[in-house]
């Protein structure tokens, strides 16, 4: 019976029931959407993480059979992936076995083909392909060579052992390292070598050590040794034991390199006599007494490539431990070791052991498993990459924030809608009461209404919510360049729905209590009023009949005051909507801030190449061609650089940034950044010592004037102009001088922690240290263009003095000469308009010289010739020991089309990188991570904004309508009393404007509070970068919408005849 009454009541108030269902349904839909989106985002991340980092919970690396078995016995262990490390292969990298469980837990993605199944099969990691000169395809048979180190030591230890054995007295007298060191650095016991032309001019000069000692002196472990090999065959497995010894012989021609004193530490000992000891002059060694440097077993077998695995070994959470780059079956492992290597008769291998890596899948969480067994198994490590601790992530906080916002909005909405119904309801309730219904029965009528409401809305909302979730995910995938899979966290969604149901009940509570107080005579024309304002006061005083004229405005104001509750409710709803919308913009800004700052504004490339020398002008086009060969590559920006040049100009001592930097720079680092006064450079005299002594150390980046990059710099100039000809010849250069803002910092060296210092290098150090000590902020970001100051110690047309250590050799000894270069400053870039030029926007160097290739040739002549006959390894060695800057550097930044086939591009760029032996940096993953994160966050925030805004709008619509409906009578009376349409319009417009302004002001106060919190919590946001235009636009739109929603419905009412309005609720 009661149920029927409830149902028919709801049917009777069709419009109200509809609005109520709509709001409740909407809040369910958004709750479902928010929770599913969150679960999908988290779930997809977990999927991606486990796909990338393996789904194993814990691992124990480099262990033995015993421990493996112990682990296997644990109850929680569900799967145990075991991989036996067989050894290293020159091309294939680390080779290991794989079992079924590991295949499961590894989540290996096959680029092509499949994992090995038979004992002659092998699968390789994708990155190994670039090690082969020819293409390797699935199905090819390749020789698989595994190298097992049996014995190994530093070559010079072997050499020393040999010296001690043969001439112990000399070793004892001078010390082995000392001998090497002194010969190396001072040319002691060296032999001189001249070459003169016919005119008697010296054309070649060199010194090298005499006699047999030179074998050691020049002896490079790998180059000067003797190898002894043996060959054995076991089935289709070949085994070669290679043993290398220190061997002494005089090379035919001079081609060796010096031993770097860096690699021989702890040099101590007396000075050597001028002449080598007698014993050395005719020494020779019995080959039988050679001492062993290393011994290795090389096992080779032909195997069939069954598949190519996506790179994983550099991704997993295993620290520095190597993981297999190629997998074979456990069978194949046996045929390499037990049926191969261990059968050798050449040497004694009874002690030889292989190591196993085990990967555990546990029935409990990664964290729990680790906590439980971390002590028992000392080297157990957990998979923190796949299973990071996410509980406190911003996204979960946000999702709960959304649920809370929806919750509050729904409570409000239901409350409000019920409140507006009260009037119409009172009559009905009074009727029910008059026919004898008691309060509890009325309560259950109302409760039944809620139940019906939920029964009606929930199923529909569920369908729409799930459908919409699917649609949103499709949309995000389509436009966000991300892959989001639908996941449902039933607990979370259920929680959200529970919250929704609760909010409906809560919202109904107050109106329910109210309607229960309805008196029996339900005919009252107004709902029960509160006590009138200032009641007693007026009555006790004699009434002044000659009262002031009450204007319409004042009459209306009285009405607002009288309806304080409703006024407040309306105002707070407007404020909530506004605050949520503006808050969404603010949050999106914070979340996209990272991506904007790091990728867009700095123009971050996809890949970076770094080469330890400047390429010749002839080889640059070849490199570019090789890169552009892949169509995915859209742009390559290449610099030839010369580093560590002393830069001086007339006003350099006025530069306070440099002075501040010098103050906070630890003394051991000063030489990396400033010229110092001790005149170690021989051609510096009193007249020009300031060119180094007062100089700042800078790097020179040079570009091809015909390359589009030239135009980019030209277009970026803040001051001056580039004359292409003069720039090309090197007569002119341009400078990058970052914008700066002086901070309050008083910091000194002690305050800069080691952690910060460790992560700096010559290029970023000035910016990082000045920022961390709060002394200066430096940037090339255009958004600071009007906010920060510009370095004015230099102006266009100034002469710039660059002084560069020559790094030449005078015979065996490096000279301490410098080369002087003078050039004119053609232009200055304080900031890059719109987009930065990588890497300068990122690593803020100050100053940066930008010149032409010719200019670099003048400053660093060796850069003209490239690496010449030297190998990259040779160069590395020379750079580390003798000529740190002589050969310059090449940097290339590669931009890849977003839509290009990633794997294709990756393989092709890696191949070029290998060919040129460059240091390759991959920025893509980093960029993607930042973008994906920003996008997900923004999607969630937008969801929040939209859901709350829509709910609030509906509430507002309903509020204004019902408010006006209630006011209709009043409006009618006032109409009858002679208030004109214009007066009404003016009033409502003004009130709307008032609400709008109020909402804006309070929202901004709230936002200000949020900003303040970010400051207090130590994560201040760069507010000048905030999209103010968008914010202002949104504010204006919100303002107009508020004013309009308040004002528009009035028009309909004032068009009515007064009597229609008055009669509206009267009957």
């Amino acid at each position: 019976m009661l149920r029927k009454i409830a149902l028919s009541g709801m049917k009777g108030r069709k419009k109200d029931t509809f609005i109520l269902s709509f709001v409740v349904g909407l809040s369910f839909v958004f709750t479902i959407l928010a929770t599913i989106f969150h679960a999908s985002s988290e779930g997809t991340k977990l999927e991606q993480r486990t796909a990338m980092f393996g789904s194993w919970d814990a691992a124990y690396l480099n262990t033995n059979k015993e421990i493996v078995e112990k682990i296997r016995e644990k109850d929680e262990v569900e799967k145990l992936g075991v991989s036996r490390i067989l050894g290293n292969s020159p091309y294939l990298g680390v080779i290991g076995t794989i079992n079924d469980d590991l295949m499961d837990l590894g989540n290996f993605t096959m680029y092509e083909g499949r994992m090995p199944e038979k004992d002659n099969e092998i699968a390789l990691e994708l990155n190994r392909l670039s090690y082969f000169s020819s293409d390797i395809k699935v199905g090819d048979t390749i020789p698989v060579e595994i190298v097992i180190p049996i014995y190994e030591r530093e070559w010079y230890e072997a050499a020393r052992e040999q010296v001690i054995r043969v001439i112990p007295e000399i070793e004892e007298r001078f010390g082995f390292k000392n001998i090497l060191y002194q010969m190396n650095n001072f040319g002691i016991w060296a032999r001189e070598y001249y070459e003169k032309d016919r005119m008697g001019e010296l054309t070649a000069y060199d010194r090298y050590p005499t006699d047999w000692f030179s074998y050691i002196y020049y002896g490079f472990a790998n180059s000067y040794r003797r190898n002894v090999n043996s060959l054995e065959q076991f089935g289709d497995t070949k085994l070669v034991i290679k043993t290398s010894y220190v061997q002494m012989f005089i090379p035919d021609s001079y081609g060796g390199y010096r031993f770097s004193p860096y690699t021989i530490p702890d040099v101590e000992g007396t000075e050597l006599p001028e002449d080598p000891p007698e014993e050395l002059t005719d020494g020779s060694i019995d080959p039988k007494e050679l001492s062993m440097i290393s011994q290795k077993g090389h096992i080779t077998r032909n195997m069939v490539v069954t598949g190519i695995i996506q790179n994983y070994s550099n991704l997993w959470d295993v620290g520095d431990e190597p993981l297999p780059n190629a997998f074979v079956t456990e069978e194949a492992g046996k045929s390499f070791i037990e049926n191969g290597f261990l059968l050798t008769e050449e040497i004694d291998v009874s002690d030889f052991k292989t190591y196993d890596n085990v990967f555990i899948d546990s029935s409990i969480s990664s964290q729990d498993f680790y906590n439980k067994y971390g002590e028992e198994f000392e080297n157990l490590r957990r998979n923190t990459y796949a299973y990071p601790e996410t509980s406190g992530s911003t996204e979960s906080t946000l999702t709960y924030g959304i649920l809370a916002a929806i919750f509050i909005a729904t409570v409000f909405a239901v409350f409000q809608i019920y409140l507006t119904q009260t009037r119409r309801r009172t009559r009905r309730i009074a009727l029910l009461k008059s026919i004898g219904a008691v309060n509890s029965q009325i309560r259950s009528v109302l409760l039944w209404e809620v139940v019906y409401l939920l029964l009606f809305t929930l199923p529909i909302s569920l369908v729409i919510g799930f459908g919409l979730s699917k649609a949103v995910i499709l949309f995000v995938n389509k436009y966000g360049n991300t892959v989001l899979n639908l996941h449902i966290d039933y607990m979370l969604t259920l929680f959200g729905i529970g919250l929704g149901i609760l909010s409906v009940f809560l919202g109904m509570l107050a109106p329910m209590v109210m309607s229960m107080k309805v008196p029996l005579t339900g005919t009252i024309s107004t709902p029960p009023r509160k006590k009138p304002i200032i009641k007693g006061k007026l009555k006790t005083k004699p009434v002044n009949l000659n009262m002031k004229v009450q204007s319409f405005r004042r009459i209306s104001l009285r009405n607002l005051k009288y309806n304080k509750g409703k006024t407040l409710l309306t105002a707070s709803l407007y404020t909530i909507a506004t605050a949520v919308l503006l808050g969404s913009i603010f949050l999106s800004f914070i979340f996209f801030g990272d991506y904007i700052d790091n990728v867009i504004v700095k123009d971050k490339p996809s890949y970076g190449f770094e080469l330890n020398h400047a390429l010749t002008n002839r080889s640059i086009p070849k490199l570019l061609e090789a890169l552009y060969e892949n169509e995915g590559v859209t742009r390559v920006e290449l610099y030839k650089a010369g580093e560590h040049a002393y830069l001086w100009h007339e006003n350099i001592n006025d530069n306070e940034i440099y002075a501040s930097f010098r103050e906070i720079l630890p003394s051991k680092l000063i030489e990396e950044h400033f010229g110092i006064d001790d005149t170690k450079y021989v051609n510096l005299d009193d007249d020009n010592s300031h060119l180094v002594g007062d100089a700042i150390v800078t790097n020179i980046y040079t570009i091809d004037v015909e390359d589009p990059l030239y135009r980019r710099f030209e277009d970026s100039l803040s001051l001056g102009e580039m004359d292409k000809e003069k720039f090309k010849t090197g007569e002119e250069v341009i400078l990058l001088l970052p914008l700066y803002e002086k901070g309050e910092g008083e910091g000194s060296i002690d305050e800069i922690s080691e952690d910060i210092l460790v992560n700096t290098n010559q290029k970023n150090r000035m910016e990082v240290l000045l920022r961390n000590s709060n002394k200066y902020k430096l940037t090339y970001d255009f958004r600071y263009g009007d906010l920060y100051s510009k370095d004015e110690t230099l102006s266009v047309g100034d002469t710039i003095y660059l002084t560069i250590p020559t790094e030449d050799m005078a015979g065996e000894l490096p000279t301490n000469d410098v080369r002087f270069i003078e050039t004119k400053l053609a232009g200055i870039i304080y900031y890059f308009p719109e987009k930065g030029i990588w890497p300068f926007g990122d690593t803020v160097e100050n100053p940066v010289v930008i010149g032409s290739y010719n200019f670099l040739g003048k400053a660093y002549p060796a850069t003209i010739f490239g690496k010449g006959y030297l190998t990259i390894e040779d160069l590395d060695y020379l750079i580390a020991s003798l000529y740190p800057h002589k050969y310059g550097k090449t940097y290339a930044y590669i931009y890849v089309d977003k839509d290009a086939n990633e794997i294709d591009v990756d393989v092709s760029i890696k191949r070029v990188a290998r060919e040129y032996e460059v240091k390759l940096t991959n920025y893509i993953e980093e960029n993607k991570k930042i973008f994906g994160k920003s996008l997900n966050m923004t999607a969630i925030v937008t969801l929040l904004g939209i859901s709350v805004a829509i709910i609030t709008l509906i509430i507002l619509y309903n509020t204004t309508l019902s408010k006006l409906e209630q006011e209709r009578e009043r409006i009618g009376i006032l109409q009858a009393l002679g208030v004109t349409e214009g007066q009404f319009k003016g009033l409502y417009l003004l009130s709307g404007i008032g609400y709008g302004l109020l909402a804006l002001i309070i929202s901004h106060l709230l936002l200000g509070l949020a900003v303040l919190i970010t400051f207090i919590s130590g994560r201040p946001q760069p507010l000048y970068l905030y999209p103010w235009k968008l914010h202002v636009l949104a504010s204006i739109v919100v303002f107009i919408v508020i004013t309009m929603t308040y004002f528009m419905p009035l028009r309909k009412i004032i068009r009515n005849q007064p009597i229609d309005n008055i009669r509206n609720l009267g009957r």
Partner: protein, 221 residues
């Protein structure tokens, strides 16, 4: 020339499928300075007629002339001002503003016109209506009869040319009812006001100069 004239006025209410012809082609002339009483059964169209005479409602058909000018051809603003200055209306259901005191309610029509009414006139009205000691009260604190008297005071305060009252004495006891009628009549005489009063009370109707009877939306005899 008559003060008010209705020409072929019809009023039809349509609610859903229901169609009610509240007034059917009514012709009526109201002369200045007279006291009219409208009588008729409940639902016969008395209130509707009064509302149209007071320009509170538009007829479905026909015209209303005030001093020869067609009222509903004026702009809404002009009609509103006309209502404000020339017509005093006493509603059947009082229609006081609850957030204002009795005094404020009474003064409101004058104040809305930006005028201060004559203090003596005010005193006269409130003493006649016997609401002097209720001026500081709010309408909710008054009885039905008291509220009715406040509504009448509000209608009289601007000395309008026409006073329209819809059953003003319905909620009053006989004595007060008569006092109210006397006051209205006195005011009418003093200010040469025209009174149109809807009533059930034949005693009151008899005091009128003319009686208009409505039967089923038509003027009877």
């Amino acid at each position: 020339m008559s003060l008010l004239r209705l020409e072929n006025v019809s009023k039809t209410y349509i609610t859903g499928d229901l169609r009610v012809d509240a007034l059917k082609s009514v012709n009526l002339e109201i002369e200045e300075g007279y006291f009219y009483a409208i009588i008729g059964k409940s639902g016969s169209g008395k209130s509707t007629l009064l509302h149209i005479l007071g320009a509170l409602d538009r007829p479905t058909e026909g015209k209303l002339f005030l001093e020869g000018e067609s009222v509903f051809e004026k702009t809404d603003k002009e009609i509103t001002i006309l209502r404000r200055r020339r017509i005093g209306f006493v509603f059947q259901s009082y229609n006081l503003l609850p957030e204002h005191t009795v005094l404020e309610n009474i003064l409101m029509p004058a104040h809305l016109d930006g005028k201060k009414p004559d203090e003596n006139r005010l005193k006269e009205i409130i003493s006649a209506l016997d609401i002097e000691d209720k001026l500081a009260y709010y309408p909710d604190e008054l009885s039905g009869g008291q509220r009715q008297r406040v509504a009448i005071a509000r209608a009289l305060i601007t000395n309008p040319a026409i006073i329209l009252a819809d059953e003003p004495t319905g909620n009053l006891d006989e004595k007060t009812g008569q006092e109210v009628i006397d006051l209205i009549k006195e005011s009418a005489q003093k200010f040469n006001q025209t009174i149109i009063l809807v009533t059930h009370d034949m005693d009151i109707a008899k005091q009128a100069d003319r009686i208009i009877q409505i039967v089923d939306g038509r003027i009877g005899n």
